[in-house]
Symmetry: C2
Subunit: 210 residues, 2 copies
């Protein structure tokens, strides 16, 4: 299956600013993207990065440039094809080939993997009229859009697909459950798990450069 | 399968204090507990609430009182049985019969459903020597404990099992994905989804009483 991976190339992961400097955020975002691409390929699917600007990647994948906002760019991809299309976010650092396989093999005109906070982290679209709207509570909006066009909805109950990495507290998940380039990058940056207290937190000794 | 549901009866959900008053936290914690119990029963398993003090429940379930800390109380249950035992946290408000079934039918000497932040939200124990240690990064600790005694570990990749409700921001998940008494309680308390901005948040008009 063709899998589109949207990527904001210029200012990735701004909400990680309290934990990571600008260059680190850029390198970390590209590491997560590479992990996602490799998981998609290992599951036997074909990733295309849908980037806001031209991109040099550490891994082999097609890149399509579209500088429009996320929903408009993804909808242009949906309009341009009449075969099933998956959309997987570039910051799902915990994704494995098995999770991609679960997503793509699930039946349904529309298959949604919800993200935390009411979001939509991954989608499979097999209905020609379905269009995305990522603004706000997109999980509920996507269910409503599917209902309106008579498309049935399948849901994927996955912690790995639900865990988009947006905020400093999300880095814990990458350090605990990640296996690829993204946790390796964090460790290069000096992060480790703080396991002293009742909860685990990402911790590093040096101060953050901006 | 016997399923133990630990419950802190006296001071439940203190980290929800910024969003809910003391009586509300108590009622909400009991609503989540009732949802968890009903999901376990609907999946064909036998729940026992392991409570820190005697408890009147809105639903029919056995209650065992043990006022020791969580890990000691759960380990006493593990020591007292030679049949498989599951341990499911009482604040998994998104749990459904299907998720309980996924947990209990997964093979493995030890089966772990990780929670956010490195936690362990649900467990199945089929190895006589396995003991829990919920302090800190319990997911990693439980994997290490299993490894030490030669027990194989299965993992359940579930957003519903990963979503323990600890902090005000977690209430969004209950409002979006919950189906039982817990979201009904929140709505009674005046919460609704704020879908105006780019992210969804739980919102209510009135101020919080303490």
């Amino acid at each position: 299956m063709q899998v589109v991976v949207p990527f904001a190339a210029e200012t990735p992961k701004t909400r990680l600013q309290p934990a990571l400097g600008a260059d680190e955020r850029s390198a970390f975002a590209r590491a997560m993207l590479a992990d996602v691409i490799e998981a998609i390929e290992a599951a036997g699917h074909r990733p295309t990065v849908l980037s806001t600007s031209p991109l040099d990647l550490a891994v082999d994948a097609a890149v399509t440039v579209d500088d429009r906002p996320l929903s408009a760019a993804v909808n242009a991809q949906l309009e341009a094809t009449d075969t099933p299309l998956a959309v997987v976010m570039a910051d799902l650092a915990l994704v494995t080939p098995a999770t991609v396989d679960r997503l793509c093999s699930r039946q349904g005109d529309v298959v949604i993997a919800p993200g935390r906070g009411g979001g939509t982290n991954a989608l499979v679209v097999r209905h020609p009229e379905f269009r995305v709207d990522y603004h706000g509570a997109s999980y509920l909006d996507h269910c409503a859009i599917a209902d309106k066009i008579g498309a049935d909805v399948g849901t994927i109950d996955s912690f790995r697909l639900a865990s988009d990495v947006d905020e400093p507290s999300d880095l814990v998940e990458v350090l605990v459950h990640g296996t690829g380039r993204a946790p390796a990058r964090l460790r290069e940056f000096g992060f480790e798990l703080d396991r002293g207290g009742g909860r685990v937190a990402p911790l590093r000794g040096e101060s953050v450069r901006e």
